[in-house]
Symmetry: D2
Subunit: 389 residues, 4 copies
């Protein structure tokens, strides 16, 4: 809990948010057009106006810069509420890639970059994307395979490379490009429209309610100025790691909200639907799924909160955020899968959002480090340093 904020103030903020999500955002979810990114974006834009009018906005950003100035711990409750709707995070500037890009630029951007990129990003006037992932044989789950290069020239850098699956890339005003330079791996900002920055296509995915797409982008002899470098040359992989750690914690928070919503829908269904003469709620096999969902999300919240407090305390979260990410990503999938199962045919229909929730959550076991990559890293650390389980 932030030490300086009166407890009542944060509670009121949460009430405001809950009301907004329940009464404005969720009613705007258009399941029948969930596959239409353009339509979704228009709805989100309208909701952003309402959010601002309610004083709701980017949760982690400092108040003078237009954010709510929440601690990481406070973000847990905020993001969970926001995350209950497909449209909540994008409406409140806490969806990826915007939120982690804001966090990263807040630490790394030069004064000029702050003014040109960070400020409009926080206000919601510009959109970013983080161009790291590459198609095989480039950087996928292993960032050391990075193939994109940025060659230094007299008056800047020339970028060449092939990026893929760049979340938000279809609608981004600028990209933070991760590329090899002489000094190692570095970050460079490239504005949309720069010659040689070609958005090839949107890679379609199983996720509904996607507003920014997952772009395939080619950089061909793409020239940027010397001020395009973000932070220090050669520190790009460290920066990416730090960006990811915060990003995946935000995912955990908001996806707990989405999974919780799926189970709430399933519980309501189980409470009214009968089978074999009794309500589904009285069937123990349904109860078993309900109980496991409560247990899973109880653990998921505690782990997310624990890592958030570590961040607030300035501690390294590398090990613990990996553990939380693996657990939460798999837990929310189990919960959403059970919600679908409890709702039966209605669950696989799109009359209810539960199967769409499952489709939004499934990729999280892969994004930001697949479970397998994290498990291996967790274990190697434990085995190397003799950490007790």
């Amino acid at each position: 809990m932030s030490l300086t904020r009166p407890a009542g103030e944060f509670a009121a903020l949460l009430d405001n948010l809950r009301d907004f999500i329940d009464n404005e955002v969720i009613p705007c979810e258009d399941l029948a057009n969930a596959h239409d990114g353009e339509a979704t974006q228009r709805i989100a834009a309208a909701l952003q106006v309402s959010a601002k009018a309610r004083g709701l906005g980017a949760p982690r950003m400092a108040i003078p810069e237009g954010g709510l100035g929440l601690s990481w711990e406070e973000c847990c409750a905020f993001l969970e509420q926001a995350g209950r709707s497909f449209l909540g995070p994008v409406t409140l500037q806490c969806a990826p890639p915007g939120q982690p890009d804001v966090a990263a630029l807040d630490k790394l951007a030069s004064p000029a970059q702050r003014q040109r990129y960070l400020a409009p990003l926080v206000r919601g006037d510009k959109r970013s994307c983080f161009a790291m992932t590459e198609p095989a044989p480039g950087a996928g789950s292993d960032p050391r395979m990075l193939a994109t290069t940025a060659r230094r020239v007299d008056d800047g850098w020339v970028i060449d490379g092939h990026k893929w699956f760049i979340t938000g890339g279809m609608r981004a005003d600028f990209a933070i490009v991760v590329a090899r330079t002489d000094g190692g791996v570095s970050w460079l900002i490239v504005d949309k429209g720069t010659p040689g920055f070609e958005v090839v296509r949107d890679v379609p995915t199983m996720e509904p309610f996607d507003t920014g797409g997952h772009a395939e982008i080619i950089f061909r002899n793409c020239k940027v100025g010397p001020d395009a470098l973000v932070g220090e040359e050669g520190k790009g992989l460290d920066y990416a790691q730090l960006r990811l750690e915060g990003a995946r914690l935000f995912h955990c928070m908001r996806f707990i909200g989405l999974a919780s919503r799926a189970m709430t829908i399933a519980q309501e269904y189980a409470g009214r639907r009968e089978s074999n003469g009794v309500r589904l709620a009285e069937h123990q096999m349904v109860q078993s799924m309900v109980a496991d969902a409560h247990i899973d999300l109880y653990a998921a919240r505690l782990m997310t909160l624990d890592v958030a407090r570590m961040l607030d305390a300035g501690q390294s979260i590398r090990h613990h955020s990996s553990m939380a990410k693996v657990f939460v990503s798999e837990a929310v999938n189990r919960v959403a899968d059970s919600a679908v199962q409890i709702c039966g045919a209605l669950g696989v229909s799109e009359d209810l959002p539960v199967s769409m929730i499952l489709r939004v959550l499934r990729p999280f076991r892969i994004y930001d480090g697949a479970s397998e990559v994290h498990r291996s890293a967790i274990a190697k650390r434990a085995l190397r340093h003799g950490l007790s389980a």
Copy 2:
């Protein structure tokens, strides 16, 4: 194995089918338009022509009636091949609801019904649907809650009721309607266009490549003649049970093919994609998923085959088909989920079909009796009759 068919002949049929699926059907899968039922249907219709030209068609139907006359055991291999493509079963008249309706009418139809409904169904000239499921509080997983009625009048029956999630209903030329009559639960055939037979809408689902939809249908004072009755009055629930037992075995067969294809794609990907300096195929966590897929499908095939042989031998499959259905439906989901995971971001993209395969397979844990319903039935039978595990 059919006792009368030369082994070589069936092997040649399978080779023909495999060639057809690999070289004609799979290349026609249009992932980018998988959500467009009309487009999918047009493609399937064209493929049906090719299939007929190759001598491929409804596998279980007797040869004089236009089918291939395969035994249930032979169908296992045939359907698995056909099932490797999203479009295979519908192309080969072995997709639901057509296949089980053919099987049911072959046993129950009067001579007039055979001529008017069964024959064109086998030829692919007409399409059917099986109108049993109802919205709450009607018949869902518990058929005894059936609310639709068919009142006998002088010259036939008058049907009133609300059906929902009727697979294939959007494109069906006639419906087999399950309704309460004075004599119990009965089956009646209703032609599309009959006054009072109103297809309200297509219930959208998470499944791509759906050609016939899942219709919501209302029968309001819908009058049919005395010859609409299928089989005997009052035996509708028994008929439905028998229809389902065969239907779910066909699902098992074809979905094993689809899951196997997903893992084959994943294995190919793992064989070429590198991470941390070695191919994914050398990572034990990937190997673990691959091995489990092989084990799961090995068991799935053996169970499906065992039940098929019981059907060929004229034995009751009620207990064993329930066990096979639970195992196979869950196994193919695990396999497809692992295939998505192995393929990483590419796996959740729609550049590959694996996430679509997962979306086709997920509902099978619910359709034709949810896992929970079957588990309860299996256990009750075991406990009541003292069957050893």
Copy 3:
């Protein structure tokens, strides 16, 4: 954290305990005689003397009464350390049934009962048992089936009934007997040696290092005085519920320690044993088990700690302690099972304690409410009160 205790003091206590467990208790574990309750008891008695000399003792009991006066939160760390050895909890008066009986009597005992039973229990001079469970058709997982009766007579009570699986009953100096009275279900204390209190036998179990056994006890016309009643008549089921809630939290704490030790042994083994040219630690399938153990115990500790804090804050833990109990009991089983698997043949041998740890942990999925009973209770509460997961 206790508000009154200096942080350094508690840390020193933990260091003292860790040193005691590592250097005195674990070296005394005699795996070859783990099945000999008498021998184990002799070892534990000797260790108790050392513990007292180090100032270590009953953690929860108030300091003036001879305990350490730890908060529930502090107990989490204390019990985890103590629990790393099979012999730790019994040595430190925090094994069942003593610890929960102390806690219950501390709340319910009359002044005379405090002096006669509680004080010697805290000092380790007497041993108790809690006689509630009955053989079928009596009270097992459902306490409402309680069949034992206590009939009021002029000068006290006459108890008749059959108890079974009474932990610690083989060595107890007195029993707290749960019985039906006119006023409902009540608690009565019965001294060993009271006529009609017959310890029939020790029910053998899969658990090694068992010091007090699981007694089968018959009460036949067993006469006790009016002062045998504990607390109020008719409140026995509520008392039992409260006793259990604390007891199962103590189990969670100490079994986390035991499971953690099993995995530490497995990690050490994996770090030195080679297979296929590399150390087991480098095999991803081993890493996967190690990582899951770390994740499982991370979540287990957080849930246990959260419930402990609720107890310290005077909140009801009924719902949350059920969730923690289910999760922790299953998590520690997974961890111990993986430790066995990693250690291979050595893991199933009794040269290492890991298979014995598994055997100690397995019953915890049943004791103090089987997972199924808790899952049903959790879900019913959630469904009835509309609690979100």
Copy 4:
């Protein structure tokens, strides 16, 4: 099915066996003394006499040599029946290591070895052990790490090495020793009592009803004659692989029987024990465990039978026996674990055999190739040869 044996004859044999197991063997299981190998051995010896009187004996061995001459397929049913009792396989000469040693010697032994070792082994007059496993850093899960050597001298071989976990070694009359020779890895028979053949101790394990122990054996300058060599020099690893393939199939068969028995006991308990006003059998969470046990063992039997038929047909079972071993070993563990859970406190007590069954089954996930080793081998084969799942 054996082509030459009348079906009725085999059915009669099975009836005979079932009667023997139910009415003679199971009643002799002395749970209270299950840890006493000597006592168990005495009981087994007495039962062997009864078995012979009934015409029951070594199932796979040819009839002229004193066996029953069953096909592998027939062994599935025979071993499952025998396996229902802890004492069945040892009584019927089909427990390891005897059974696979008989099978191996039947293929490899010289005429002199047949007479001296094989014949008395089949009759039950002698006992063998297979000395391959070594303590770290020798041959554990990876046989290529074999450290024991057999140096050729003028008149035979001199063996030096350290063996460990040699099943049956405490009671064996001779050992088949796997050792490195100049020509590769070879097998040599060593009689008990040969100078330099020292049985150091019995490695204790979690398994009850163990008759032959798991010996630690040291060979120091142990001299054997030239006729000690079994089969050809240098083929020891291939022989070991073949021996293991058959051995693990036998394990599968008999452990299916043991797991089935555990669940039968649990079903009977669930049918009579009440909780919350209804019998356990009516609780869906219990039904779920019962159903899964039936499904698991249905699949387990089909896989075992399929591999047995492959053996009868002379096909290589390397790939399929690995798949069956992984599935069956894990399935029987799940089933036994559920049986314990259903029986509650009685399940962890030793009043019932279910927790002992769990303890016998747990090591099977490690013995004869740990699940991880098989999974890796299965996947590598699939990935290398492009086998579809």
